[in-house]
């Protein structure tokens, strides 16, 4: 674990690279006893920043600390994986729900209205509406993203099967339409893409050269607790370099970074499974995190694949194509 002084040097590297905003996340950032020093280092530089937290360790002191960083503090995003202790704690451990709500109360007392993020999995897919209701009662917005089976130490059996995934996407889009602009996330986007395809709006607009729609190593980069740099927090085993020993610009131009970009930007049409796909022209490419560790050319992201989506629960739709 790097000391605040080392983080200060890393932050200098980020400023030197003209980075505009950072997100302080984890794990859980408030497990660090020196988090106040680190956040102060961030706030003392020309950076806008956000904090991702499970809120269980946020008390009055932590909330006041965060409030002291306004206006540079952009947002606080709290993980909310269920509308009640039973569901949320199944994902995050016993007592996590009550502790998180306590943390949110402290934030609200300081005038910080948080946003929320729900990772939708087999454990909570059945109660999205209730999660959204609770989140929007306490905060400004909620992001609904599917559980992504990519990364270290992930428990098995949390990924939604194709049918449950499609149902969750449709439910998420319905919730988003009712709560204009306050419910977002990849589940909403996927259902919207599918609906657009169904109505013919995004057919034939594709680009045969396109690859995965990944901002990793282009618009975003993840700095790990030891200073290692990865393309994003779903691909932490892919080390592109290390801060502060190298500049961020040098890391972004390294062979490892170039190789990453080349692979994710390789045309999907190079993948035989995609090249002949009926849905190719409407495909967004999606996130490379899941297919990244599979052998061969980088395949489609199952969570963005329209073919998989349409075949999920209504095979007759696909059979007609």
């Amino acid at each position: 674990m790097l000391a605040p002084g080392e983080w200060a040097r890393i932050l200098d590297r980020l400023v030197e690279a003209r980075l505009l905003s950072v997100t302080v996340g984890g794990g859980e950032p408030f497990t660090r006893p020196d988090i106040a020093s680190i956040l102060s280092e961030v706030a003392s530089r020309p950076l806008r920043f956000s904090v991702n937290t499970n809120a269980t360790l946020i008390g009055r002191r932590e909330a006041a600390l965060l409030a002291s960083f306004r206006p540079r503090l952009d947002s606080v995003t709290v993980s909310l994986d269920g509308p009640d202790a039973e569901t949320h704690d199944r994902v995050r451990g016993s007592g996590a729900f009550d502790a998180a709500l306590g943390g949110v109360e402290c934030l609200l007392a300081e005038g910080i209205r948080p946003g929320f993020r729900c990772t939708v999995s087999t454990l909570n897919a059945g109660c999205l509406a209730e999660v959204v209701d609770l989140a929007l009662e306490m905060g400004d917005w909620i992001i609904l993203n599917p559980f992504l089976e990519s990364g270290p130490c992930l428990p098995a059996g949390l990924s939604l099967d194709p049918r449950a995934f499609r149902e969750s996407c449709e439910a998420a889009l319905e919730l988003a339409e009712r709560r204009k602009g306050r419910v977002t996330g990849t589940l909403v986007e996927m259902a919207a893409d599918a609906r657009a395809f169904g109505s013919g709006r995004n057919r034939g607009a594709g680009d045969r050269r396109k690859g995965h729609s990944c901002g990793g190593c282009a618009n975003i980069v993840t700095v790990l607790p030891d200073g290692g740099v990865a393309p994003c927090d779903h691909l932490v085993s892919l080390r592109l370099g290390s801060l502060p020993g190298s500049s961020l610009s040098a890391i972004m131009e390294s062979d490892a970074a170039r190789a990453f970009r080349a692979r994710v930007e390789a045309p999907l049409a190079e993948n035989p499974e995609c090249a002949e796909c009926f849905f190719f022209d409407a495909c967004s490419g999606g996130c490379p995190a899941i297919p990244w560790n599979l052998p061969g050319p980088l395949g489609p992201d199952p969570l963005s694949c329209l073919k998989r989506y349409f075949e999920a629960s209504r095979p007759e739709e696909s059979a007609r194509r």
């Binding site: 003209r18 505009l20 905003s21 020309p46 806008r48 540079r72 952009d74």
Partner: protein
């Protein structure tokens, strides 16, 4: 005393254009062409007339009157957004 970006404002060049970003408000202004050229010259040393002289040398095809108008409009817009200060 020259013109400069305040400490809470970052100018970042991009492959096509640039971004002027206020980290306190989140306001972002995209610049290209002459505006990008002006941003490059805002360095706390150059004054308005010095910037204009450099623009005239770099963009002779545009003409001094038009460049002066563009410069003043752009500097006014930056000032109105608290993205420019005399240093």
């Amino acid at each position: 005393m020259g013109l400069g970006f305040p400490g809470n404002v970052v100018f970042r060049e991009e492959p096509e254009g640039g971004i002027v970003f206020n980290v306190d408000t989140g306001e972002m202004r995209f610049v290209e062409g002459v505006a990008r050229g002006i941003c490059r010259l805002i360095d706390r040393r150059r004054k308005r007339n010095e910037i204009l002289s450099e623009l005239e040398a770099r963009y002779p095809e545009i003409g001094s009157v038009r460049l002066a108008e563009d410069l003043d409009d752009f500097l006014s817009a930056l000032r109105a957004s608290s993205m420019l200060e005399d240093s």
